[in-house]
């Protein structure tokens, strides 16, 4: 007996090819954006997260691109559903500032990927299992990997940004992007409401994608005697006693150290030792100086002499985002 239902189909070949081109546009563009963001993202866990997922997105785009000739279309062609979707992607990409990792994680892992998963899952449910297995196999793989990405993104976000301020920023950015996505009609261009799959910080699922959760400097690596001297030095800077601070420097470096400290905005509220690197007997220490006018970071070269630890040079360096 013929089961007519088994052969009923939701998508035509042409409609299927059109969707595949839209999916490819989203995956390809996200791949490029993640790749571009890596260098601009200070936090190692987020940097490595993007690094892990560039290749997965590339493979998704490639799979979609190779499916196209099987649907009487040109291979490896991307096509946005409309100009509004291009604007949505451009908005997502625009979170490129040093301190915008919150927005980057939100855009990729809490908006675009959940949207793709929701659309892929619906497509999978509607695609005919008799004559569309090639498309369904790609969908199944993309769904599985995008869900893993979402879980990893949630774990990294929770680890890096547990504070309410970050959650507030993420919420604001999420709303802005969701509105832009709604205006575009989603990745298909035809959605009347934005579909987003639920995101869970599932550590087991994310395990293979989460590297280097810790980003903090361990003060225990600083010898006690040096830590005490650096603490005293920072306190002098906060108190505005530059002469006393410069007194920690070797005589021949004192004038240059004072010149450098003149660049630090005042007043200061606090100082914190945030890094220490070794070059033979030298210890290069970074002091983060906070004040109402902003943050300054000074990089100090210390060397132990007969009269104790002394500064041999100081340099104000650009402040990195706090980890």
């Amino acid at each position: 007996m013929i089961d007519r239902e088994r052969l009923a189909g939701h998508f035509s070949v042409e409609a299927s090819a059109k969707l595949v081109r839209h999916y490819r546009y989203a995956e390809e563009r996200l791949m490029r954006v993640l790749g571009g963001w890596i260098a601009l993202t200070p936090e190692l866990p987020a940097k490595l997260l993007f690094g892990r997922h560039v290749w997965d997105c590339a493979q998704h785009a490639d799979l979609w691109g190779r499916r196209l000739p099987e649907l009487r279309a040109h291979a490896q062609e991307s096509e946005p559903p409309n100009e509004r979707f291009v604007r949505f992607m451009t908005l997502l990409e625009s979170a490129e500032g040093r301190g915008q990792t919150v927005e980057r994680l939100t855009g990729a892992y809490r908006v675009l990927k959940p949207h793709l998963v929701a659309i892929y899952e619906r497509h999978f449910a509607l695609a005919n299992p008799v004559y569309e297995p090639p498309t369904r196999r790609i969908l199944a793989r993309c769904i599985d990997e995008e869900r893993r990405h979402m879980a990893a993104g949630a774990v990294i976000f929770a680890g890096l940004f547990p504070d309410a301020d970050a959650r507030g920023r993420a919420g604001d950015w999420h709303r802005r992007l969701r509105d832009a996505l709604a205006e575009a009609g989603g990745v298909t261009g035809e959605e009347t409401q934005v579909l987003l799959a639920d995101v869970e910080a599932d550590r087991a699922r994310a395990a293979s994608d989460v590297v280097a959760l810790g980003s903090a400097f361990h003060p225990a690596s600083v010898p006690d005697d040096l830590a005490a001297v650096v603490h005293r030095h920072g306190a002098a800077l906060v108190a505005g006693d530059l002469e006393r601070a410069a007194g920690d420097a070797v005589e021949e470096a004192q004038a240059a150290v004072l010149d450098e400290y003149a660049k630090v905005p005042r007043p200061l509220r606090s100082s914190e030792l945030v890094a220490m690197a070794k070059i033979g007997a030298y210890r290069v220490v970074k002091l983060r100086l906070d004040g109402p006018a902003g943050v300054a970071v000074v990089q100090l070269q210390w060397r132990h002499r007969d009269d104790g630890w002394r500064v041999t040079s100081a340099q104000v360096v650009p402040a990195a985002a706090p980890a």
């Binding site: 993640l34 601009l40 490595l48 690094g51 290749w55 590339a58 070059i279």
Partner: protein, 251 residues
């Protein structure tokens, strides 16, 4: 995002100390140390491995920028670069583990951005020649020697992990050779400029005479002739590199 981005936009956590390679080398030489850490002590090994870690980070960042910076390049090229991003991210994972294995910590030694600067060439052909053939070729030298030393001191963790990284680097050099040829097909001037860029990188990364032809235990960085042949370097290219190491300035 700009294409390409300015050098100084490279973002790092505060626990990293960034310094010019020349300044670090100068401070080392002032103390009677070799300009580039050797592998004769555990401290030297840690320092070398830390240098590799930041090199891998910058390689990942550079490959990521290549994926972004050249949207009109052939799709297969982009795929290779995306694959390289993933490889480098695993290498960072490996070296984070090796630093812990050796008792060190992230940020224990300064980072210079000399590799990153090389990865910012404006032409894709120059970038693959400089990074994939120049810098990844250097990585073959460094890792091959590290595998040898790890075997000699009986550290199977270091030996096995770095050997897998070396296998990836050989693949990256091959990618570089392929794309140098394909991207410059029919454009000899572009090819000449790309190779010239690679040569300047090879010269710079002879590291003041640290890289030389010789036994793993006798020279600071030994040229991995066999690994380089596997990666597709010709005998003439290897010979030219050896010649260049003999005229590189010392710090």
């Amino acid at each position: 995002m700009d294409r390409p981005i300015a050098y100084d936009k490279l973002a790092r956590e505060e626990r990293f100390v960034r310094m010019r390679a020349r300044d670090v080398g100068g401070l080392r030489v002032e103390q009677g140390l070799p300009p580039f850490p050797d592998l004769t002590s555990r401290q030297g090994m840690r320092e070398r491995v830390h240098g590799i870690l930041v090199g891998e980070l910058q390689a990942m960042e550079g490959a990521g920028r290549t994926v972004y910076d050249f949207p009109d390049a052939p799709w297969e090229f982009t795929l290779d670069m995306a694959r390289q991003v993933w490889d480098e991210s695993r290498h960072v994972d490996i070296y984070l583990g090796l630093i812990e294995h050796l008792g060190g910590y992230v940020g224990e030694f300064p980072e210079s951005t000399i590799l990153w600067r090389c990865a910012c060439a404006e032409d894709a052909a120059a970038r693959v020649a400089g990074v994939n053939r120049g810098l990844e070729g250097l990585a073959c030298d460094v890792f091959n020697q590290l595998v040898h030393i790890a075997r000699k001191i009986g550290d199977p963790i270091l030996e096995r992990a770095v050997d897998f990284v070396l296998a990836d680097e050989i693949t990256h050099v091959r990618m570089g050779s392929r794309w140098l040829n394909e991207l410059t097909k029919g454009d000899p001037e572009r090819r000449r400029r790309a190779i010239e860029f690679q040569d300047t990188i090879d010269e710079r990364f002879n590291l003041g005479g640290s890289r030389r032809d010789g036994d793993h235990e006798e020279v600071p960085i030994s040229i991995a002739q066999e690994a380089r042949r596997l990666a597709g370097f010709t005998d003439a290219e290897i010979e030219r590199l050896i010649q260049s190491t003999q005229r590189s300035p010392v710090y």
